[in-house]
């Protein structure tokens, strides 16, 4: 028995599993210690969970773009975080205008819908142009080439928007109708968090139905399955790839407004961290897999929101909230190491990556 284990494992695997085991022990130990100490009441935990759900559903929406593009082109669209930033940053100027003219107060629904539409349109346009200019000429290039292009495009877009709109933080106007709490059953939830969760859920379901039911969605899925065969079936592959980018862009634009509603500000660099986290979410759920991205996003949001208090507080770490990004990145690395196919992963990640 021992002989067989020794044959199958090589030294690097043993090191990896040892690291994994240490982390697992730390998590269990920390959680137990926190729960025993009882610093946080049930109310705190509920707040953490709801916040995690809201944040996670935003990640999930952004992750759509990563996962769909990866499904079609097998590349990480590194510039997707800038697609995400461009929408709400542009829509900010309209939101501020609506706020000044009083429309936001008198007709909150209409003005918010307009803000969403503008944000989604901008992000869609940026995603379309990105694909057209930066990625389309590179079909069939060595793998490293489009990835480097994507990194370049990401920084280019960031600083173009910095040049256009300035480098300061812009405070998103507050919507009166979204102030305050609401009781859902026995639980008290902030109103804007409800909006974020409901809107994100609605969009994700719509997107999923679109890819499953409509003709266009079927064409998209067929392209991600096999480009050549799809072309032979009369599908315009280039147009479908463009479409994939645009749908991902629209989802990111909507996610951007939700993000701005949650954190109340926009900035040219706002896309970077959510972008990496959304990518983590996509990998977590199994990249190339749409329901997986939703699941991964929500899971990541929850871990990030509950994690610092649950795992780290008990270990006696000062100011654990500062380390929430480190938790997300650690999770990314762990998933990439131990289960690169993700939770709902298909086997493509190993074979084609």
């Amino acid at each position: 028995m021992l002989q067989r284990i020794r044959e199958r494992m090589n030294p690097t695997d043993i090191v990896m599993w040892a690291i994994g085991a240490v982390l697992l022990v730390m998590i269990i130990w920390g959680s137990a210690a926190t729960l025993v100490k009882g610093v946080y009441s049930t109310h705190h935990w509920i707040d953490f969970i709801v916040f995690g759900l809201a944040q996670g559903s935003v990640y999930a929406l952004i992750a759509m773009g990563y996962t769909m593009v990866y499904g079609v082109l097998r590349m990480i669209n590194f510039a997707h975080s800038e697609v995400f930033m461009s929408g709400p940053y542009t829509a900010y100027y309209f939101a501020a205008y609506f706020y000044r003219s009083g429309l936001l107060e008198s007709h909150p629904v209409i003005s918010m819908v307009l803000v969403f539409v503008i944000s989604m349109a901008t992000s869609t346009l940026i995603a379309y142009l990105l694909e057209l200019i930066a990625y389309r000429p590179l079909r069939g290039a060595p793998r490293l080439v489009p990835l480097i292009t994507a990194i370049g495009a990401s920084f280019f877009l960031q600083y173009v928007f910095r040049g256009l709109y300035g480098s300061g933080f812009q405070a998103y106007p507050v919507v009166k109708a979204l102030e305050g709490h609401m009781m859902v059953g026995p639980v008290r939830i902030l109103k804007f968090q409800i909006l974020v969760i409901v809107a994100a859920a609605f969009l994700m379901i719509a997107l999923y139905q679109f890819t499953q039911r409509t003709r266009l969605g079927k064409a998209l899925r067929s392209v991600s399955e096999d480009k050549e065969a799809s072309a032979l079936m009369g599908i315009d592959v280039d147009r479908m790839i463009s479409m994939t980018f645009m749908i991902g862009g629209a989802a990111a634009g909507a996610a951007g407004v939700l993000y701005a509603i949650m954190f109340k500000q926009v900035h040219f660099f706002m896309g970077f961290i959510p972008g990496i986290k959304a990518f983590t979410a996509a990998v977590l759920g199994g990249i190339g897999n749409i329901p997986g991205a939703m699941l991964g996003g929500i899971f990541l949001g929850l871990v990030e929101s509950v994690g610092p208090s649950l795992f780290l507080d008990g270990l006696g770490i000062v100011a654990p909230y500062q380390l929430k990004d480190a938790i997300a990145f650690t999770m990314l690395v762990l998933v990439l190491i131990f289960r690169p196919t993700g939770i709902l992963g298909e086997r493509l990640a190993v074979k084609k990556a």
Binding site: G152, F155, Q322
Partner: protein
């Protein structure tokens, strides 16, 4: 003609694209920011040069597209493109005059519009001038397109040299002004801000003449050198190397304080670039968390030497080997988990690692040991037998020594068995493994070597600055280094130096650039990948690979032995 057909005409299509780029350049503030610097005194500023070069390039492309279809089409396409571009700028000016765009686009200032209409008081006169300039640009681009190849090269080289000299006036003027007899000439060429008109004309004529001479005689000179017996050729190479080394040694004395400081920054990036070149260029492992090793090197030196923390009180030379050792160890430790990953997954995982390290250093949790957001100060300077490396001019030598050491090691490694194994892994992992290469050892050695170089660079960085902060180690540094080696040419060591000079040195000299640095980096990465993926100074094998269409040239290069890589 219907709109779709019109769009298919190169003149109109490229004109619209070019117009959009010009409007974007103006709106993101580059034109206005660059306007402070005159290229030719009272004639043209750097901002205008930027617009002009873009416009000429686009109009030239449009004309070139129509070259096969007769002179008339060439002129039509060039002028159409020029007019459309000017027209779009004119629309921007009109829009800016009628409404206040500054609430949204902060750079849409009256100064910008004033620049675009050539400082004319009357807006309509300015717009007519603008359109005329557009037509003129189109016309000259079309004319340029119709010239024979050598003449085109002479004209563009001459004009570009004026632009470059004007751009680098702060670099050129002080160096030559120090030499007695040249001082008068320098005064004549650079009367103040920019090149003087006679200076510009003289420069244009001289460079154009040289370029013309080269295009007729250059091949002959090259052939003569190639025909020399191997012994004297080697002598020539050796003499060139010696001269180069000598220049590098006396450089800080000639450059003065500010430029030496720039050179130290460039040198640090060359060190970092040589390290990343091993990981990305040789072994093909895209590492975006490279800055982590830089941070480890810096922090090791800081913790071991700084009296502020007071754990140890070593000097720099005692701390340096340990810093490199920690870097190598970190390279192995971070290398093991990512061994099985490839391509994009590896990039993202390493990016995650780099961020984890930065967040940990920044956190209050590790503050007693690492100083938190305040960092660690009072790092002592390096010292050799009582001589202290304190000013930039002195630190320059420290960095130069580091560059030579690292350059020598990576040059020897490249041609070693290990180097060939790295390249095999880069080309195809599976095949390399089938050929008996131990993937684990090869990849780990690449990570470890690169990390060691990076830690060395970080150690020098710590003593140069005298303090370390977590904010110096963000992901931008990794991206900058990646840009340096990609623009220079992946896997090419001279390329690293070229890339560092172009991407790090130039922006330091052109202070207006600071805000647009990453924008230009991003654009450079995309443009390099689209147009010249092998880089500015490519490695010989990679150039052959990417241009397999020219088998004769490749065969000739092979027959010549290891040919000198040409830019």
């Amino acid at each position: 003609m219907n709109p779709a057909a019109a769009l298919r005409l190169p003149g109109i299509r490229l004109g619209l694209i070019g117009g959009a780029s010009l409007v974007l350049l103006s709106l993101i503030g580059m034109v206005e920011a660059f306007n402070q610097r005159e290229i030719v005194t009272d004639v043209i500023s750097m901002g205008q040069t930027l617009l002009l070069l873009t416009a000429v390039f686009i109009a030239y492309l449009a004309a070139k597209h129509e070259q096969a279809r007769g002179r008339g089409r060439v002129f039509a396409a060039g002028i159409a493109a020029g007019l459309i571009m000017a027209g779009m700028l004119a629309l921007l000016v009109l829009l800016g005059h009628s409404i206040n765009m500054r609430q949204v686009f902060i750079n849409a200032s009256p100064v910008l519009f004033q620049t675009l209409v050539f400082q004319q008081e009357e807006i309509w006169t300015g717009i007519v001038l603008l359109l005329a300039a557009g037509a003129l640009i189109g016309l000259s681009a079309a004319l340029l397109c119709l010239q024979p190849h050598w003449l085109r090269r002479v004209i563009t080289t001459g004009l570009c040299s004026v632009a470059v000299v004007g751009l680098l006036q702060d670099l050129i003027a002080p160096i030559f002004a120090a030499w007695g007899p040249l001082a008068d000439l320098v005064d004549l060429i650079f009367p103040g801000n920019g090149v003087s008109i006679p200076g510009a004309v003289g420069l244009l004529v001289v460079v154009a003449a040289l370029s013309a001479a080269w295009s007729f005689k250059g091949q002959a000179v090259q052939d003569r050198i190639r025909a020399l017996p191997p012994k004297s050729r080697r002598g020539l190479n050796f003499a060139a190397l010696l001269a180069g080394a000598l220049v590098l040694l006396i450089l800080p004395q000639a450059l003065g304080l500010f430029l030496s400081e720039v050179m130290t920054i460039v040198g640090l990036y060359i060190l970092l670039g040589l390290g990343l070149n091993i990981v990305v260029g040789f072994a093909g492992l895209l590492d975006l968390g490279y800055v982590a090793f830089f941070a480890i090197g810096s922090y090791t030196v800081a913790i071991l030497t700084s009296p502020e923390l007071g754990f140890f009180d070593w000097n720099f030379w005692q701390a340096l080997p340990l810093a490199v050792l920690f870097g190598v160890m970190a390279g192995v430790i971070l290398g093991v988990p990512v061994l099985k990953m490839r391509g994009d997954y590896l990039a993202i995982a390493t990016l995650g690692f780099g961020e984890i390290i930065r967040i940990m250093v920044l956190s209050d949790f590790l503050r007693p040991w690492l100083g938190g957001a305040q960092g660690i100060g009072k790092i002592p300077k390096a010292e050799v037998a009582g001589f202290e490396f304190a000013t930039p001019q002195e630190i320059y030598y420290l960095i130069l020594a580091g560059c030579f050491l690292v350059g020598f090691i990576s040059w020897r490694l490249r041609d070693s068995r290990l180097g060939r194994a790295w390249m095999a892994v880069r080309e195809d992992e599976d095949v390399a493994q089938a050929m008996g290469i131990n993937l684990v050892a090869t990849k780990l050695l690449a990570f470890a070597t690169g990390a060691g170089f990076s830690a060395l660079s970080g150690a020098i960085f710590a003593t140069k600055l005298g303090s370390v902060y977590p904010h110096s180690f963000n992901v931008m540094i990794s991206i900058n280094i990646l840009c340096v080696i990609i623009v220079g040419g992946m896997g090419s060591m001279p390329g690293v130096a070229v890339g560092a000079l172009a991407l790090v040195g130039l922006p330091e000299l052109l202070r207006e650039f600071a805000d647009y640095r990453l924008l230009v980096y991003g654009a450079a990465l995309v443009a390099m990948m689209l147009l010249k993926p092998e880089g500015l100074w490519p490695e010989a094998t990679r150039q052959r690979e990417l241009h397999e269409k020219e088998p004769t040239a490749a065969a000739a290069a092979l027959a010549d032995g290891p040919a000198e890589p040409r830019a």
